[in-house]
C-alpha cells in the first residue's frame, strides 16, 4: 500500500533522465572514438563502419601498458599499508579508547574538510628534500598520509560497534593486545577493511593533482595523471583523444562493474559516516 504505479511514472521518468544524463558523456566519447581517424566527428552518432582498431592504436600512443603497470604499483604500495595502519588506529580509537585519543580524532575530523590545495605547494618541496621527487615512493607516502583521516574515521566507526567483551575475554586468556588484534579483531573487521580498500583503490587510481605535481614523467604517474600529458599531445585529434581517454577510464569502470554492489554500499555508507 504505497504509491500506485501511475503515481510513480513521473519519478521513473525523472530517474531515467538522470540515468541518461550520467551516461551520455561516455556514449559521446565512444561515438567519437569509433569514427575513422583523421575525420572530425560531430555529436553522437553510431558510425556506419565502427573503427574498433582505433582502440588498438590508442593503446599504443597513450602508452596504456606502462600506465597500467604504474597504477598497479601505486595501488599495491598505498592500499595495503593505508588499510593496515588505519585499522590499527581505528582499533586504538574505537576499541582501546586510548587516553587523549580525542585530540587525534579532532585532528582527523579537520583533515576530512582539508582541500588538497592546502598542502600541495610545501609537499612538493618536502618530497624534493627527501629526494623522492619523480619517484612512485614519494607519491605513495603522500597518498597514505592524505587518506588517513577518512580511513581511520571509517575503521573507528567499525570498532565502536565491536563489543568490548571480546577484547576482555582475550585479555583474560593472556593474549597480548597485538595478538588479540591480529587473531580476533582483524578477522571480524574484514568486511569493513574490504570496503575501505575498494575506496582506497579508487582514490589512488584517480589521483590527479598530487600525481602531476610530484611526478614529471607521465609513465610513472597514475592513469588519471597521465591524461594531462596525453591531452597535451593529442588535443586536436578528437578520435584518438577519446579512444585513449576511454582506455584510461576503462580499468576503474571494469572494477566498478565487478564490485558494483560493494562499491555502492561503500560509497553510500562512507558518505554518511564521513
Amino acid at each position: 500500500m504505497k504509491t500506485s504505479a501511475r503515481e510513480r511514472i513521473p519519478g521513473l521518468a525523472l530517474l531515467a533522465l538522470a540515468m541518461v544524463f550520467s551516461v551520455v558523456p561516455m556514449a559521446s566519447m565512444l561515438s567519437a572514438a569509433l569514427q575513422p581517424q583523421g575525420t572530425s566527428p560531430s555529436g553522437i552518432s553510431w558510425p556506419a563502419d565502427p573503427q574498433w582498431h582505433n582502440f588498438v592504436d590508442a593503446w599504443r600512443v597513450a602508452e596504456v601498458t606502462p600506465l597500467l603497470i604504474s597504477s598497479i604499483i601505486l595501488v599495491a604500495g598505498v592500499v595495503p599499508v593505508a588499510a593496515l595502519i588505519a585499522t590499527m588506529a581505528g582499533y586504538a580509537l574505537g576499541q582501546l579508547r586510548i587516553p587523549g585519543g580525542w585530540i587525534f580524532f579532532v585532528l582527523l575530523l579537520f583533515g576530512l574538510t582539508l582541500p588538497r590545495e592546502a598542502t600541495i605547494v610545501p609537499l612538493y618541496y618536502q618530497i624534493r628534500d627527501l629526494g623522492l621527487l619523480n619517484t612512485r615512493l614519494g607519491l605513495i607516502l603522500v597518498l597514505i598520509g592524505t587518506f588517513m583521516p577518512f580511513a581511520v574515521f571509517w575503521m573507528r566507526a567499525h570498532f565502536l560497534n565491536v563489543p568490548p567483551e571480546l577484547a576482555e575475554a582475550s585479555a583474560i586468556d593472556g593474549a597480548t593486545s597485538w595478538k588479540a588484534f591480529r587473531h580476533i579483531q582483524i578477522p571480524i573487521a574484514m568486511p569493513a577493511i574490504a570496503s575501505l580498500s575498494l575506496l582506497l583503490f579508487l582514490w589512488t587510481w584517480n589521483t590527479f593533482l598530487q600525481a602531476i605535481v610530484l611526478i614529471d614523467d607521465p609513465s610513472r604517474r597514475t592513469m588519471a595523471g597521465a591524461l594531462q600529458n596525453f591531452v597535451g599531445q593529442y588535443s586536436t585529434d578528437v578520435v584518438l583523444l577519446n579512444a585513449g581517454s576511454l582506455l584510461i577510464m576503462a580499468p576503474t569502470i571494469v572494477v566498478f562493474l565487478i564490485f558494483q554492489r560493494q562499491f555502492s554500499r561503500a560509497l553510500i555508507s562512507g558518505a554518511v559516516k564521513g
Binding site: 583533515g111 610545501p122 584517480n206 590527479f208 593533482l209 554518511v272
Partner: protein
C-alpha cells in the same frame, strides 16, 4: 570494561603509524603553507617576510578575489542542482521496487563518481565543443540560435563548468537520497495520506525531516567539491577564456608551480581552507542538530 578503560597508554602504539603518516604528509605541509603565506618567495632565492601582504593581495586583487567568487557561484551547480534534483527523484519514487532497474540505476548514476575527474573533463570538453553533443541536442529541438563553443564563451564557460559539477553530484545525491527515503517508516507516509495530506505537504512534513542526515551529507560533500574544485577546471578550461572560469584550486597550482609565487599561492590556499571550514561547520551543526 573497567580493565580496558584503564589508562591504556600502550594503545597509542596502534595509533602511532597512522598519526605519523598524517602528521608528516598532511599536518607538516599544512603548517608550512601557513608559514610560506607570510613570505615573498620564488622557491629558489631566499624568502623575504612580508607579513599579511599576501592575504591583503588575495582579498583585493580582482583576479584572485574573483576566483573565490567563481567557486561560490559553482555551488549552485555542484550542490543546489544535485540536491534538488535528487530530492525530486527520491520523493517521487520513494524506492525502486523493480530489482533490475535498481541495479541499472545504481550503476549508471554512480559512473560519474568512478571515473577520474580529469577524464570527465575530457568527455565534457568534447560534449561542449562546437561539434559536440550539447549543440547537437540543442539544434535538434530547434535552438540553433544559441549553439556555441560553450567552454570558449566568456559568459557561458563558467555555467558550463558548473554543469560538469552537476553531472558529478547528481547521481551520488540521488542514490544517497533514495537509500535514505527507503529508511523512513512507510507507516508515516500512510498516516499522512489518510490525513489527506497532498504531495507537497507530505514532502515538507515527512520527507525533508526524514532525509535530514542524507541531505546534510550531500550538501557537505558537494560544497567541498565546488570550493576546492581542481581536476575538472584544470583539464577543461585551465581557468579560461581569460579568467572567466578561474577557481582557487587552479590558481594555487599556477601561482605555486608555473609562476613561482609561493607566498601568494600559500595565502590563497589558506584562505580557501578557512572558507571551507567557515561554510562547512555551521552546515554540519545545522544538519546534525535535532
Amino acid at each position: 570494561m573497567t580493565r580496558l578503560r584503564h589508562r591504556n597508554w600502550q594503545g597509542w602504539w596502534f595509533a602511532l603509524p597512522a598519526l605519523l603518516m598524517y602528521g608528516v604528509f598532511v599536518l607538516r605541509p599544512l603548517i608550512s603553507t601557513v608559514q610560506y603565506s607570510f613570505y615573498d618567495w620564488d622557491g629558489i632565492t631566499p624568502a623575504t617576510w612580508v607579513g599579511i601582504d599576501n592575504y591583503r593581495r588575495v582579498l583585493s586583487d580582482p583576479a584572485l578575489a574573483s576566483s573565490i567568487w567563481h567557486a561560490f557561484f559553482l555551488i549552485i551547480f555542484f550542490t543546489l542542482a544535485p540536491v534538488v534534483g535528487g530530492l525530486f527523484v527520491a520523493a517521487l519514487l520513494q524506492e525502486i521496487r523493480i530489482r533490475g532497474l535498481a541495479t541499472a540505476a545504481r550503476t549508471a548514476l554512480f559512473l560519474p563518481q568512478i571515473i577520474p575527474g580529469a577524464a570527465a573533463a575530457i568527455a565534457w570538453v568534447w560534449m561542449f565543443s562546437g561539434n559536440g553533443a550539447v549543440n547537437q541536442v540543442l539544434s535538434s529541438i530547434g535552438l540553433d540560435g544559441i549553439t556555441r563553443a560553450w567552454l570558449g564563451d566568456f559568459t557561458w564557460a563558467l555555467p558550463a563548468v558548473g554543469v560538469i559539477g552537476t553531472w558529478l553530484g547528481l547521481g551520488f545525491c540521488t542514490i544517497l537520497l533514495i537509500s535514505g527515503i527507503g529508511k523512513i517508516d512507510t507507516a508515516i507516509y500512510e498516516a499522512a495520506r489518510l490525513d489527506g495530506a497532498g504531495f507537497l505537504s507530505t514532502f515538507r512534513a515527512v520527507t525533508l525531516p526524514g532525509l535530514r542526515q542524507e541531505i546534510g551529507v550531500c550538501v557537505t560533500v558537494t560544497i567541498i567539491a565546488a570550493l576546492a574544485t581542481f581536476d575538472i577546471v584544470f583539464m577543461s578550461t585551465q581557468g579560461g577564456p581569460g579568467t572567466s572560469t578561474m577557481v582557487p584550486g587552479v590558481l594555487v597550482y599556477q601561482l605555486g608551480f608555473t609562476e613561482s609565487r609561493i607566498g601568494l599561492a600559500s595565502a590563497l590556499a589558506i584562505v580557501l581552507t578557512a572558507l571551507i571550514l567557515v561554510v562547512i561547520l555551521p552546515i554540519q551543526r545545522f544538519f546534525r542538530a535535532a
